[in-house]
């Protein structure tokens, strides 16, 4: 299993347009389209179109929108697109835990078809039977994949899904009159931090377990943590370092015996698709991010779907409406006894579900299992080659020990030897046209980086990524300043992160930018 020697690094250079913010490109009076005056016939019918809007709802001043010609708008956004390293542009294995895989473009055609885009959520059920059928059948697929009995698609992302689950855990204990006493949720430090966050938002106290010396959640610590105050366990498996906790059924048993419920964060299920199921792991709830494992693109932080599933006895708490089928027609079912209500408008982000449905249909059962097998194989190949790079280490590694779909690596040795940190490596990787991400906080593993190759990349492509990492390591040992001053070929060089921490300076809208930085200019 040796890495190909062919791997050649690219002489990459990104476009640098010094592109202004779109507001700065505005010219008063510029228009993309000049709309014709309404014809006399229409005027006679609707009047001037404005006076029918109630007086108090009419703007006195036009909104302060940028004014541009069409070509300028197009050029502006093309320039910006050239300044990114998007998933379709590079060997996108650098953002572990996010399962950035190749999403077939045919599925995009389905999602952007007018049959999807022209639907309105207030349409009568009888006119959207096809859309409801897709929602219903995707639910059936996920039931099969997880073993649980019902899924909903309302949550707009993974953390939102966790929020729905935390709400159901609370509703369950409330129904039993125990919600005052059962106020603790247990999680682990390598579970996604949104598990702790969702629990905290629902008013639970959060108890975090740390790994044992082999990197697995410490089962003795769990035994110490459970009590008659335990409301539930919210845990990921495999955790963010890619180790599968084979004692997971023991974990859920301990929590159930203490009277708590168990939630399985399967945001990323890429390494176990068709291999293990939430039901057999003893879980009451789980969720899948359709925008990770199920190949819907992430968008720019959304819109997405965190599909939440429950065991039979918890269906009574699900958010409404559920999509049901009476044998002839699909309909929206609002009759859920102890529903937590709504967690989001309507029924879910339909285009995301359509892409996932198409992806599952195109692969079938055997295809889904093949996804997991290839993702795991790719990951272990990558891991063994990274272990040969000077300065890179694999915490919790042992001879013959494999990982599932991702690994959290460490540059601790590199930093000790050369003072080059994981953020320096991140910037230097941009020079090879590669996206590289450090890791979620907290950095329990020092100088971390998490890579997840998914099933989408070939051996040669993985070799190219490894070759870039090896090059950066070599540079760190021979010319550390070169790495520390990187990037050279990226569109933006160094950002001063202290600005992000200064409320006097940060500006996330044009208006606040003007207020804080351009006080002299009138908006």
């Amino acid at each position: 299993m040796s890495e190909s020697k062919k791997a050649k690094l690219r002489d990459f250079h990104q476009a640098h347009w010094d592109e202004p913010v779109i507001f700065e490109l505005s010219t008063r009076g510029a228009r993309g389209i000049l709309v014709h005056e309404a014809e006399e016939e229409i005027k006679a019918e609707v009047g001037d179109g404005i006076s029918s809007i109630p007086e108090h709802l009419r703007r006195k001043e036009p909104p302060a929108l940028p004014e541009l010609f069409q070509a300028q708008v197009l050029r502006h956004y093309l320039h910006l697109s050239q300044a990114t390293l998007g998933a379709d542009l590079n060997i996108e294995i650098g953002q572990g835990t996010c399962t950035i895989k190749y999403s077939p473009k045919i599925n995009e055609r389905f999602a952007t078809s007018s049959k999807v885009t022209e639907l309105h959520p207030f349409q009568a059920e009888g006119t959207v039977q096809g859309a409801l059928e897709i929602l219903y059948k995707t639910d059936l697929f996920l039931r099969e994949i997880s073993g649980l009995s019902r899924f909903i698609f309302q949550p707009g992302g993974g953390s939102h899904g966790l929020f729905a689950i935390a709400s159901m855990i609370r509703a369950y204990h409330e129904l039993r009159g125990e919600s005052n006493k059962r106020d603790e949720i247990i999680t682990t430090i390598f579970s996604h931090p949104s598990n702790a966050a969702a629990a905290a938002v629902k008013g639970f106290k959060v108890i975090t377990l740390y790994p044992d010396k082999d990197g697995y959640p410490d089962i003795d610590a769990l035994k110490e943590a459970v009590s008659d105050r335990t409301a539930g366990l919210m845990i990921t498996n495999p955790e963010d370092h890619g180790l599968f906790n084979s004692k997971i059924a023991e974990f859920t048993r301990i929590v159930h015996e203490a009277g708590g419920l168990c939630s399985y964060d399967q945001a990323n299920a890429n390494g176990i698709l068709g291999m293990t199921r939430a039901l057999e792991g003893g879980f009451d709830f789980c969720f899948f991010n359709l925008h990770k494992t199920f190949s819907s693109p992430h968008g720019c932080g959304g819109p997405a779907v965190g599909a939440v599933g429950v065991r039979k006895e918890f269906e009574q708490f699900l958010p409404v409406p559920l999509v049901d089928f009476d044998g002839e027609r699909y309909f929206l079912n609002y009759d859920i006894k102890h529903s937590i209500g709504k967690v989001r408008m309507f029924y879910g982000v339909l285009p995301v579900v359509v892409r996932a449905y198409a992806w599952i249909m195109s692969l079938g059962e055997e295809g889904l299992k093949e996804v997991a097998r290839v993702a795991v194989l790719n990951n272990n190949y990558l891991m063994r080659n990274i272990s040969k790079i000077r300065g890179a280490t694999i915490p919790y590694d042992a001879p013959g020990k494999h990982r599932l779909e991702q690994v959290r690596y460490s540059w601790e040795k590199l930093t000790k030897d050369t003072n080059v940190t994981t953020e320096d490596v991140q910037r230097r990787m941009c020079d090879f046209g590669m996206h590289y991400w450090t890791s979620h906080h907290p950095w329990i593993i020092p100088e971390p980086f998490t890579l997840e190759p998914t099933e989408s990349y070939s051996k040669d492509e993985l070799d190219e990524y490894v070759a870039a990492l090896r090059k950066v390591s070599e540079e760190a040992y021979t010319d550390p300043q070169k790495v520390k001053n990187a990037p050279y070929n990226s569109c933006i060089h160094k950002i001063d992160p202290s600005l992000l921490d200064d409320p006097e300076k940060w500006a996330i809208t044009w208006r606040s930018y003007l207020k804080k930085h351009r006080k002299d200019i009138n908006a």
Binding site: F204, E224, K416, E423, W443, S498
Partner: protein, 370 residues
């Protein structure tokens, strides 16, 4: 022009290489030399200074003669101002005096190369007046004022002087008794806190929040503690900056390095001795609040010896509340919290798992060992 102080303790670290466990006192230095030790600290200071070379024209280094800083600063080509006179053999006194004088000259930052002893000497002169960065060069380095390596110390100084790092945190100055240590007994004392620049590692990723500042974490912990305090209970508050926040939230006077006692929101005793504490402790209604001291994760027996085995036994494990910021817990890199109480029974009683308060309504179940 930035005024930067530099103190190199030229003998720091010499005892370590030849197995002497420290270099405190002139006899040990002589012995170390006889055993073939050479000065390491100037070389380490040089490594740190090289990171500042780019700022050469905008820095004036205020330093001591020859081996105590002048040599390395000149080697790097810095503009150098010397205080004090050259001596054959330098001592702790020279460090203390130089630090005081530098404070008067209003330096912006003090870089020093040494170990725990040097940190102590500097602390005794400047307290919290000036930020410092420790270039690790000593045998004993229990204090948390040192950077992980000399280059990193230099880099941090660069970031601080160029305004890229603005945050300051308080770092423990600890030292152990070398005499006892040579006999195999570790007796660590917390001397105080020096101010050090602190770089928060910011990650530009929308999914990752910036780590909260240490002060914010301490405030969150204090809020949790104060909210759950019960009437008629005696709360014994151990030393440390994390526990200090509880006293500040309660609006009470406190001793940073000592043990204070609170009951029903009132301070009933400040900076108590073990003997006083023994009289105060009520075995049914007393709770003890401790936090790990220093980088090694000791919750008892290092830096808080007032909390003796007798007292711990009287209070009982169930009434011990451990608090720690997450950053402190994570800096242990998976190693357990430690107790070193001179009493096997107490060590065994506390070993196992303990619930640690890490934030407001946030806890960890964490292993304790001895």
């Amino acid at each position: 022009m930035h005024k930067v102080g530099l103190i190199v303790n030229p003998i720091a670290g010499m005892g370590g290489k030849v197995g002497l466990k420290g270099t405190d006192g002139p006899e040990i230095v002589t012995l170390a030399r006889q055993l073939g030790a050479t000065a390491e600290a100037p070389f380490r200071a040089l490594q740190a200074l090289l990171e500042l070379e780019i700022l050469k024209d905008s820095i004036e280094i205020i330093t001591c003669p020859e081996a105590m800083g002048e040599n390395v600063a000149k080697k790097c080509g810095f503009k150098v101002a010397i205080i004090g006179t050259a001596k054959e053999e330098t001592s702790a006194d020279d460090t203390r005096q130089a630090a005081s004088e530098m404070m008067k000259l209003q330096i912006e930052l003090l870089l020093f190369a040494g170990g725990d002893g040097t940190a102590r000497d500097i602390y005794s002169s400047i307290k919290d007046a000036i930020p410092v960065i420790g270039i690790p060069a000593g045998v004993k380095m229990h204090s948390s004022v040192f950077a992980i390596n000399p280059k990193r110390a230099g880099e941090l100084a660069f970031l601080y002087l160029t305004g890229k790092v603005k945050e300051i945190k308080e770092a423990e100055v600890m030292d152990i008794d070398e005499e006892l240590f040579r006999k195999g007994i570790v007796s660590a004392k917390l001397y105080g806190y020096l101010k050090v620049p602190f770089e928060r590692r910011c990650v530009q990723n929308i999914k990752t929040a910036t780590t909260p500042s240490e002060k914010y974490e301490q405030e969150a912990i204090a809020a949790d503690i104060v909210e759950s305090m019960e009437r008629n209970y005696i709360y014994i508050v151990g030393p440390g900056t994390t526990t200090r926040q509880i006293m500040q939230l309660l609006g009470l006077d406190y001793s940073l390095l000592g043990v204070d006692v609170v009951k029903d929101g009132k301070l009933i005793a400040k900076d108590v001795s073990e003997k006083q504490l023994l009289e105060i402790v009520d075995d049914k209604h007393s709770k003890l609040i401790v936090t790990p001291i220093g980088g090694q994760g000791y919750i008892l027996g290092r830096g808080n010896q007032q909390l003796s085995p007798r007292i711990i036994k009287k209070i009982g494990k169930d009434n011990i509340i451990v608090i720690s910021t997450k950053s402190k817990l994570h800096s242990l890199k998976g190693a357990p919290l430690l107790v070193d109480s001179d009493d096997d029974e107490v060590n065994k009683m506390l070993a196992g798992y303990i619930k640690v308060i890490t934030g407001y309504k946030e806890y960890a179940v964490y292993p304790v060992s001895f």
